[in-house]
Symmetry: C2
Subunit: 441 residues, 2 copies
């Protein structure tokens, strides 16, 4: 009997644990789920006969060591900075490990030791990174093996809300970490287009957007992620003239968000004096030049939007011009904005989330230009098995099963960019309804 230890039983672990429990019956696994909250663990394991529900604080080194020693494979759903700490113990005790996080420098450094120990440290096995790697590499290998020469690869992903749950003018609700959404894109975005590097400073990011159409699902907007260039090495496409990775939002979202960026409301580097005494109108007022006109008129002129129209409707809908109080004390603009949005963009009961991913390839074959669009749209089942939980958790569960059953025999630090991983991974995802639709022309 193979034993799996799952560290962390938070929201994003629901579909992973469900998948592992289903597999446990068929393949004779024992699934130990550990968290600081026994209630959370029991919710997830539901007294399944192949499950063990335990309370574990990973700050308790002796207990953590003891639990890892009993397992064959450890899945870490802990915050990413804790992964190396667990990985060091896994290497020492010769246990394989699975995470959904980017390979850090510390993780990378364990590669040789992990190989020597004969175990795999399998990372980037969620949605993004994870499913993006697997599906992109499948297409890249397919194009290359057909003799095609890659000209362009643009890839967009968004964690959105399903059309039937979309009841606000932003077309957005928080289905993921709100702070990351508020701070998204800060810094300078860099990508390559027709062989030339492109740099977009943060204050221009949300006005330089691409239109992305997903057949059968409509139009989205894509803004560039900070780092597209590192994917050249990861995907072995160093010479590609155009490479862009971006984030998807519903139409008009970026125009609305750009207002916050222009005003400085997403700034997390300074604190607003006496913010707890302010109303939202006063908060916004402190970022808009003074004048005789109404605040909306001044704001519209300052950030360059029509005084009446969709974007102003979006702002009005958030009640940012109202006399309700900010409440937060000495908070940064970003914290104040986040608190407001967490209220306005909260999921309602029955709301269903949506994951959209699209890879756009252009390539040349026998002197002819061709294109391949590969699109994934996943809807959440309910408030527990959200699209986010499924697309992060299922690939983690699948690679775990593939490792335990000897279908993946790689050792050391890995990510799902190799055939041995992505082929069976994508195949099983398809069976579970997570299927890319391809369109060639």
């Amino acid at each position: 009997m193979k034993k799996v230890l799952v560290l962390g039983a938070g929201r994003s672990a629901s579909s992973l644990i469900q998948y592992l429990l289903d597999a446990a019956t068929k393949h004779d696994y024992e699934i130990t789920v550990a968290d600081t909250s026994l209630e959370l663990v029991k919710q997830k394991t539901q007294n399944h006969p192949k499950s063990r529900a335990i309370v574990l604080d990973i700050a308790n080194e002796a207990e953590t060591h003891s639990e890892i020693s009993k397992a064959d494979l450890v899945i870490s759903m802990l915050p990413a900075f804790l992964h190396p700490k667990i990985a060091i113990q896994c290497v020492a005790m010769k246990k394989s490990m699975v995470t959904a996080s980017y390979v850090s420098g510390e993780m990378k450094a364990l590669d040789a030791e992990a190989k020597k120990a004969g175990i795999i440290l399998m990372n980037e096995s969620g949605l993004d990174p994870g499913i993006d790697h697997a599906s992109a590499m499948k297409a890249i290998h397919h194009i290359k093996e057909s003799g095609g020469k890659l000209l362009s690869f643009k890839s967009y992903t968004g964690g959105l809300i399903a059309p039937e749950s979309n009841d606000n003018p932003w077309g957005y609700k928080f289905t993921w970490n709100p702070r990351n959404v508020v701070l998204a894109g800060q810094g300078t975005a860099c990508y390559i287009e027709n062989g030339k590097y492109v740099y977009i400073p943060y204050h221009k990011l949300f006005s330089r957007i691409d239109k992305v159409n997903v057949e059968g699902h409509g139009d989205y907007e894509g803004y560039a992620n900070r780092d597209s260039l590192s994917y050249r090495a990861i995907y072995g496409i160093e010479d590609i003239p155009t490479l862009l990775r971006g984030t998807l939002r519903m139409p008009d979202y970026c125009a609305g968000w750009n207002v916050f960026v222009q005003l400085g409301l997403t700034d997390d580097t300074h604190r607003i004096a006496d913010s707890e005494k302010m109303t939202f109108r006063q908060f916004v007022e402190s970022f808009v030049p003074a004048g005789k006109d109404d605040i909306k008129k001044r704001l519209a002129g300052y950030v360059g939007i029509p005084e009446k129209g969709k974007v102003m409707d979006m702002l009005n809908w958030l009640d940012i011009f109202n006399d309700t109080h900010v409440k937060l004390k000495d908070a940064t603009p970003a914290q104040i904005l986040q608190a407001l949005l967490e209220e306005k963009w909260k999921l309602k009961e029955g709301d269903i989330d949506l994951i959209v991913m699209q890879h756009q390839f252009e390539y040349e074959i026998s002197g002819k230009k061709r294109s391949l669009f590969s699109s994934l749209v996943v809807k959440g089942d309910d408030a527990i098995h959200t699209a986010m939980a499924k697309t992060v958790g299922l690939p983690m569960g699948i690679v775990t099963k593939l490792i335990l059953n000897g279908k993946i025999n790689l050792k050391g630090v890995c990510i799902p960019t190799v055939k041995e991983i992505y082929l069976p991974l994508l195949e099983e995802l398809e069976r579970l309804g997570i299927k890319f639709r391809e369109k060639e022309s």
Copy 2:
């Protein structure tokens, strides 16, 4: 005979050392000038009978200790971060100290010990900070003592070029640290206006400017400094409804500089790939959206300037659209821009610099609104005794003399905001031709 040790004999020390040598004859001082370059020291001391020229590397702790022990007062012209190191030794050996730098936390922490040792650690004794404090406090005390209630204080300072040396469309040349000019304003500017806090993010800073007129000298533009609010406590004007500190530039400069900010060319947080192989045109191109139009037309549309006009003339004058090479390897945008500007904005032989400072007070007295404008314009004498060297060095020299001659008897960490310092300081500055012109209405 009183002995003064001057640490550092760089460009900005010229007028200070000249002033001290002149005073030395009259008051029987010995002025020791120390630098790592003997040539630099000798240029400054000119074999003056009251001078001692020495080579000293302050990394050599024994020698530094020995020189400080021989002095009555130490003037540090070293980089600001080194001041506390020197100050600790001054306190231990009971020697007074003078700097032109802002009081750091480390310096502040020496206050009690300095008082116990019976010495003064006199900081912020240059131009800005320095002359600004003295002249502002004189006006503030005058208004308060006349029964006036302060309504507004706006203060602007600029290190510029004299009209007769102004031969480029920017009206600007480097008379001070170029890197500080390129990075100026990054972050968020904060000030208070009519009792309300105002926040200006960096990308809006150079388009939210004030017009500042200095009688007899014409119009300037002022943009807000990052921190205006800390001056409320420094000047004892906690309740003032409007307080702004800003930097002066010639008209149109800010519109031109705003183009660089909008494009992202002042960004010092990321490196440009293969920058050494690029031309300036290609460098600029990587920040402008691609398209069929000419780069100038695309740039103008992107940053919102007319395709033909003053601002485009300013950009053309800098040759940023030319095919000359960047040369710098893997440099940040800010480094590339700085290297170009250092060439274009270099002082020519005979060029004269200009310091402009204006304090604008509004106050109420017996129910009537009054205003007081206090303006200082200082021209450089030549390439050595620049306006910058005079306005930084002379106040340092004057406070040194006042301390040595027992006219300032304060102990501990001080800045020139108190009458005992600013009155004799401003009086002697006037004698040396550094005189504020006041205009009341």
